[in-house]
């Protein structure tokens, strides 16, 4: 089963590519009550120990498929189910140091059944957790 918090500790780790650490990843679950089409998502930002990452520094991986943030708007038929994690992969050469980190994830999504004024604004959009990176 998933952890209660949105930001998951299992598989929070640095990412290796060709023997080099190219960044880190944060598994994340939506605590909204329904899944979301990728076009309903708005770009996320990730902040670790005060350092902010955004735009093309972040990719989303959902059900094993990786999406650049600008590509999310091209997938109205792909659903991010609340049973499944999205993995944020953040580009940061050298990755994060081992030990504790304060993480913040922020993103918005559209909800058509709410008045247009509240389209992306009603639900929680900032999530925090302190996690330990062990590798």
């Amino acid at each position: 089963m998933l952890e209660k918090q949105n930001i998951q500790s299992r598989d929070f780790k640095n990412v290796l590519e060709g023997g080099e650490i190219v960044g880190f990843q944060i598994p994340f679950r939506a605590t909204y009550y329904r899944g979301l089409w990728l076009t309903q998502l708005r770009p996320a930002t990730v902040t670790v120990d005060g350092e902010k990452f955004e735009g093309n520094q972040i990719t989303w991986t959902i059900n094993g498929k990786k999406y650049e943030q600008v590509e999310l708007a091209n997938y109205p038929d792909v659903n991010w189910n609340i049973q499944d994690l999205a993995i944020f992969t953040v580009r940061k050469p050298g990755g994060l140091k081992l030990g504790l980190h304060d993480i913040e994830v922020q993103f918005h999504f559209s909800a058509s059944y709410l008045p247009p004024r509240m389209d992306t604004g009603l639900f929680q959009n900032t999530f925090n957790r302190r996690l330990v990176l062990i590798g």
């Binding site: 089963m1 189910n81 709410l114 247009p116």
Partner: protein
């Protein structure tokens, strides 16, 4: 590898064709004829059920789908509502294996698939509304998944255009287009009447007029009991005057109601719900021989820190409803 939208669609179509090869699976993807599909009870009485929405704090973190169905069964709350894009694995394309698992769970716990919650997300694309054809396609996709999973009622949530929750302007067009598909798949699409909308309102009149004009049994109403909530507990929207509906306002609508949301916020230790007039609501439904389900929808304080808090609230509510229904 970069994957364009066109490639994606091509790959999806290829997978669908593969899945349709006869004999590839014990479960044919287009029919549910060879499995036992539990059917809603029709006995001229209101019946108890639960929307899985109620379990949102426990589901997938301290309870599995099976745990929730077992919990419902233990309360005698056999009617089930799901929210398709939260509860159907791999929605909108559940695998045959998952569908088989789904029916095995329903049959194991005597759970009846009653209502399938889904959305026509009018703002699916940033900056524009869905066209009529796109909305229709979205409806058809859900009608097929609902039918595949044995549901007969759909809670069809429409996109809205203002603070009063007025549905998108073209709703009649795409709903009308989908009526034959709904009929073919034996489902009734029901918008949810939810506060701040009142039962006596232009919006409800318009829905009823549409049903009458089209003489259809494939479009109806889902009533959320929140419309009866005491005024001081209702949502506050600047510039909008909300008056609670009265339980007797249900009477002229009974022929059009296929499902209700038994909204509740807090069950006390005396086993009453103080903000919704449950005794009066259920009396009207019993007197009018309402033949559908009441799906519990817990919408009180989260108490996310206490696993099992909501299942306890549900038990309290179901004992209250059993009493008002004369089951005990």
């Amino acid at each position: 590898m970069k994957f364009s939208r066109k490639d994606f669609l091509k790959a999806s179509a290829g997978m669908a064709a593969f899945a349709a090869i006869p004999g590839k699976s014990a479960f044919a993807s287009s029919t549910v004829a060879d499995i036992n599909v539990p059917k809603p009870v029709s006995n001229g009485k209101p019946k108890r059920g639960i929307s899985l929405y109620s379990y949102k704090n426990d589901l997938y973190t301290s309870m599995t789908l099976e745990d929730c169905l077992a919990d419902m069964s233990s309360m005698g709350a056999y009617g089930l509502e799901i929210l398709a894009n939260g509860h159907v694995k791999d929605y909108p394309n559940p695998t045959d294996e998952w569908v088989e698992y789904w029916y095995s769970l329903l049959n194991k716990y005597s759970i009846i698939p009653v209502e399938y919650g889904h959305w026509v997300d009018s703002r699916l694309h940033e900056g524009r509304e869905l066209t009529t054809k796109e909305s229709y396609d979205s409806l058809v996709r859900d009608i097929k998944v609902a039918h595949k999973l044995g549901f007969t009622v759909m809670r069809t949530k429409l996109g809205v255009i203002d603070e009063k929750l007025t549905p998108v302007k073209n709703w009649q067009e795409f709903i009308k287009m989908a009526l034959p598909v709904a009929q073919e798949h034996n489902v009734v699409m029901c918008p949810e009447i939810h506060q701040p909308t009142a039962l006596k309102s232009e919006m409800v009149d318009e829905y009823v007029e549409f049903i009458e004009k089209n003489n259809t049994k494939n479009f109806g109403l889902n009533i959320d009991f929140g419309v009866f909530q005491s005024k001081e507990n209702m949502m506050r929207i600047p510039g909008i005057e909300i008056e609670p509906s009265k339980p007797e306002d249900l009477i002229p609508l009974i022929p059009y109601i296929y499902c209700c949301h038994a909204k509740f916020a807090n069950m006390t230790d005396d086993l009453v719900e103080e903000t919704h007039p449950y005794e009066e609501i259920i009396k009207v439904l019993v007197d009018q021989k309402y033949d559908g389900y009441m799906m519990s929808e817990y919408e009180g304080d989260d108490h996310n820190e206490i696993p099992g808090y909501v299942p306890d609230q549900l038990r309290r509510q179901h004992l209250m409803m059993k009493r008002y229904l004369g089951e005990v």
